[in-house]
Symmetry: C2
Subunit: 316 residues, 2 copies
Amino acid sequence: MTAAGVRIGLDVGGTKTAGIALDEYGATRATVRIGTEWGADGVIAGVLEAVMALRAELPPLTAVESIGIGIPGLVDAESGRVLHAVNLGVQSLDVADRVALATGAPCFVENDVKAAALGAASLRESREPLAYLNLGTGVAAGLIVEGRIWRGARGTAGEIGHLVVDPAGRVCGCGQRGCIETLCGGGALARAWGADAEFPVTDMLDAADAGDAAASALREDLFRGVAAAVRALVLAADVETVVIGGGLSALADRIVPGIRARQQEEAASSAFLRSLRLDERIEMLPADSPVAAIGAALLGSAPAETVARHEEITHG
Amino acid sequence: MTAAGVRIGLDVGGTKTAGIALDEYGATRATVRIGTEWGADGVIAGVLEAVMALRAELPPLTAVESIGIGIPGLVDAESGRVLHAVNLGVQSLDVADRVALATGAPCFVENDVKAAALGAASLRESREPLAYLNLGTGVAAGLIVEGRIWRGARGTAGEIGHLVVDPAGRVCGCGQRGCIETLCGGGALARAWGADAEFPVTDMLDAADAGDAAASALREDLFRGVAAAVRALVLAADVETVVIGGGLSALADRIVPGIRARQQEEAASSAFLRSLRLDERIEMLPADSPVAAIGAALLGSAPAETVARHEEITHG
C-alpha cells in the first residue's frame, strides 16, 4: 500500500497564480502564491514553479495524484488546451500535455470560472444545483449539477454576462448593447465611471456614498445587473443557490445590501418573482476564498469525492 | 410471456385533449382528440374518456403499460398532483392517484411544456441538450438533458418567459415590465394589438404586411422576443438546439424568416453572438405535431427508451 498523495490545484489569474495541495480528505496541506508570467512559455513556467513550491512545503516523497489548472479563456477540457486567454498573452496552449510531460502527473485544465464553481460547490453541504457568479472584470457564471460542472452543448453554459437586459444600455465589449456585463462588470463600471483611480469601483462607490449622482446611477446599475444575473440563472437553469465571488466580492459589505434591496423592490411588483425568493438564494464568498484553486484540485476526481469530505453521502 | 402493451399519452389543453397510444417501438397505434371538460372532476372524466377511446381503437386485451398526462399548471411530478391549472378551472388535483385508481395502470403527470420537450427530444436523432420553446398564450421552455426533463432545483428551469429584456417595455401579467413574454406571448400580443379578431396575432401580422406601423412594431417585438428567448436558453443552459412549438408555430412561414433576420442583425454587431450561430440553432415543429402527447406517453420510461426507436444507442 502506498501513502495517499495530494491533489494540486492552481488558479492561474491575469497577475497572480494561487496554488493549493489537498490531501485525500480534502484538507489543505500547502498553499502558494506567485506572480503569473506572460505568454505561453511563461504560463507553463509559472505552473511548474508553483507545483515545485507546493512540493517543497510537503513531506518528501509525497505523491502528486493530479494537477488541476483553472485558467481564463476558452478551455477544451477534454484535450486540456486553452485558447484566447488574452489576459495571459496566450493564443493557443496545450497546457495539460505540457504540464503532464514535465511533471509525470495527470493534468486537468478548466476555465477558471467553471473551476471556481466546482470549488464553491465542494465547500457546501447541499448537492442542489448551484451557480457560481463571478463578478470580476467581466461577468460569467459556472453551473454545478449533481456535483459536476455542467458545460452544456458547446461550453457556453453560464455565460449570462452577455444577456441583453436593456436595449438602451451601454455598448458592451462583445458588441451588443445593455448586456448584464455592462451593468455589473468591474471593467465596464470602471470605463463608465472614468475616474483615474487605482480601484475605480471602490472610487465610484465612495462617490455614490458622498451623493454624486453619476456614481449613484452606476451603483444602481451594479445592483440591477447582479439581480438580473441571478434571475436569469434561476429562471433558465433553476439553480437553488447563486454563490457570488470574484474581485467585486471584496466589496461585499458595500454591495450585498443594495443587491438584496433591488431584488426585493423587483419582487414587490411581481407575485411570480416573490415566489422565487431570489434574495434568499444569493450567498457571497469571502473575498480571499481560494475556490478556483480548490476546484482545480478536484478536477478529474469523481463527483462524489467533491463532497465526501463535508458530509455523508446520502444520495445513492 | 405477455404481449407488449401500449403507453398512453394525453395532452390536456385548455380546450382540447389530444391522446396517443405508442407501442413498444414508439410507433403510433391510436390517436384521439376530444374536448377538455372544466374543473377537477371534468378533467378526470375527460382523461378517462380519452383512455377509453384509445383502447377502443386497439386490439382487445392490449395491455396499457402506463398513462402519462401533460397538463398546464404547476405539477409535482413525484406525487402526480397539479396545482393552479387556471385554464382548466383546477386549484389542486391528484391526477395520478385518481387516474391510476380508475384504470389500474401506472400514471405519470407532467407540466405540458416539459412533456412536449420530452416528446420533441424523442423525435430527434441527436441526444445533445435541447430546449423546447413554447410560443402559446404564454412563453415558457422545457429543457432536456441526456434524454431526461431537466427541472432544476424547484421546477422553474426553462421559465424564460419572465426574464426582463427591456425595462421600458410593456407590463407583464406577472407584474414585471418588459418580460420576454410581453414581446412574443400570444396573449400579450393580442392585448397590445387590441383588435377584436378571432385570431389576433394573425390579424396583427396581416396588418403589418399591409404597412400598419403599430402592427409592424408588434411584429418586430415578436421577432425580438423569440431571439431573446433563444439567446437566454443558449447562454444560460447552452442547449444545442431550440425547438419552437406552441400555437404560434402554426404561423411558422410568417415568423421564422423574421426571427432569423433579427438574430442575424444582432449577430452582425457582435462577434461573440456570431460565434454562437443562434440562427442555425432554432427549429420549428410542424404545427400539428403531437409532441406533448408523445412526451406524456414516454413519462416514466427510461431515458434510453426515448431514443431507442430512432437511433442505436452509442452512449454507454
